[in-house]
Symmetry: C2
Subunit: 417 residues, 2 copies
Amino acid sequence: MQPVLASIITIGDELLIGQTIDTNSAWMAQELNKVGIAVHRRLAIGDVWKDIWESLNEESRLSKIILITGGLGPTADDITKPLLCQYFGGKLVVNEAALVNVTSIFERLNRPLLERNLKQAEVPDVCTVIQNRRGTAPGMMFEKDGVIFVSMPGVPNEMKGMMTADVLPLLAGRFNLNPIVHRTLVTAGIGESFLAERIKEFEDSLPSNIKLAYLPNYGMVKLRLSATGNDNKTIAELEALFDMLKQQVADVMVIDEDISLQEAVGRLLSSHGKSMGTAESCTGGYIAHLLTGVSGASNYFKGSIVSYSNDIKQHLLDVSAQTLTTVGAVSEDTVIQMVKGALHQLKTDYIVATSGIMGPRGGSSEKPVGTVWIAVGNKNRIRTHHFHFRFDRQRNMDMTAQNALNMLRKFIIEMEQ
Amino acid sequence: MQPVLASIITIGDELLIGQTIDTNSAWMAQELNKVGIAVHRRLAIGDVWKDIWESLNEESRLSKIILITGGLGPTADDITKPLLCQYFGGKLVVNEAALVNVTSIFERLNRPLLERNLKQAEVPDVCTVIQNRRGTAPGMMFEKDGVIFVSMPGVPNEMKGMMTADVLPLLAGRFNLNPIVHRTLVTAGIGESFLAERIKEFEDSLPSNIKLAYLPNYGMVKLRLSATGNDNKTIAELEALFDMLKQQVADVMVIDEDISLQEAVGRLLSSHGKSMGTAESCTGGYIAHLLTGVSGASNYFKGSIVSYSNDIKQHLLDVSAQTLTTVGAVSEDTVIQMVKGALHQLKTDYIVATSGIMGPRGGSSEKPVGTVWIAVGNKNRIRTHHFHFRFDRQRNMDMTAQNALNMLRKFIIEMEQ
């Protein structure tokens, strides 16, 4: 059985001039995939009547489910609701539950209710209303010629609340769905082409219902197997193929799950009851940020010293003045001393330390932009590595953080054997 | 003169299952806007022959310029190049310059050159080749019935290199372009509806070539005026209207530019020759990360102590054990002591400190998830604020960081008067 096809339409000028990065669509696609709905088109258009109208015509020709976000705000540039009302031939009426919701939100905020806010409780009389538990604009579901249209606000947490509580269950009840199941592993230290060469026979032998994808990212390559169907036979087939794949890439595999390196590090530390901290110069707190983005990080992550200046390297991490004046802050000696200083100050089992030049300025002929030293260590041993990245500031930071986490991951595995 | 319309087509299954967030399109849209090309549609589709083919038909009906990214890799799931070759009726031939490029990259990496890598130097004989200075896959430009099609790799820095060096100049030479100019200001502390109510007359009186947009984001609302044309008359008109807008929202305006709060804080500190640091508990290094994402941050940002555990709050920031056991880590007393401790340890002019419960776990009836204390201070004064956010972990962190930066910004302005 083929998955039911969906289109996501995102409405808003801010998406078209590049002022906003669309993170909603990725989340929606993941959630839809889990229940067996395949997003095959994602379209972003502006707050333009004709463009929205045509996109509804066009996407409903190609998909059974059309999810629309954005354009439901209270201001004049938001035209989605009147347009949908006209498109589906309805008229706007006050929805009592939505009105109670809007009123109570303004009472809670202790703000006067404006006419334009009251209008947010109006909905076309031809839709099923989806209440918004996290904001003022209600969602709307329409059906036309067997195609389901759902309109939701563009505010991420409002959209997510509606999707989880109402939209996904409604869609699951309306269609006969067949989930899409993925198995993903992460490799590092091997290029996409070499990986492809190595697993060519495996790839060529895949059955038609299972698909392989290569996802290169920050010097790593993810391999993803996707199967349509969660019946026992399909799952067993997928698992067997995934095991084969794992064996073929065993030496370059980082993790056999689609989790981040910070999650992998967190699990390792938790399973061994160990703690960690960071001493960051060039990454400026980014590694700490990635680690504390994981819920429950306080069980193993204790803290960091971000020593962006040399003063702080000296005074808080006890890096010697001599090292800083002779070999400099971006050096093996410095990151080794940073690990030692941080082990002492933060009193954790493991420390990862970084020092480098992220760019665009600050490089020299001897130490060009992208020069990075990373050290990982515990009280018994310290391991260092020198990198030279050749990207822009943001990507150099990403590469440094990802490599630091991977070095730490390998070091912990070795030390806790 | 109306802007020339463009579509962006992003190809790749990873975008449709939500594994990758598309940041390319936003960057491309910004750059296109600057030269007078308006992106009116952005479409993401999978590595599916029929879907790509149809999208080329469809978008070329609606736009004069079609920019395509992705699907140019060396692996079997990458089908964009053969498809384009067939679509434009060409045949694949080796491009000598691209071959030299591929060969030299592999020599530099000291890796053997595989057959599939050599194939990357093949291009349809009906395209203009755009060399890739940052990777192996060349870009391709086609023309059909007056519509320009450009295909580029999906790797962000490769795409950016091609756009800047070749694609934008080529498009500017090919079309008679009229740049779109934006003026943006940021407000805080006022809802979108109230803002709209306040500037209703202003909005209604705008000429047809100037458009106003509301962009709500993390408790702030950006207001953007956009004009088509960069002739003196249009610019003068836009500036005059922008000045009027600024006057109408003066009391709630944060910045009259489209820059981030971390950039605004950085400029303030630089202009007064002052320094700062952070003492972060719940934000776990995120504020430091935002600040150090700005190039040149080392001029004013000195470092941080991320005190995720109470031990580190006590030992490195000198928060009293009594405070931690009586009122707890998430309290006004704690963030005040964190500011004092960090001023002492980091020796900066300003410190911002955070402590809170980001969720999803760790809340209690007395201090539910979303409870946050923030303090900003210098050696003379400390200011605190209590927040209660009601979002998920990531958004609670974002709200905390944005509010902390805004509190710091206001505090610096007041102190440096």
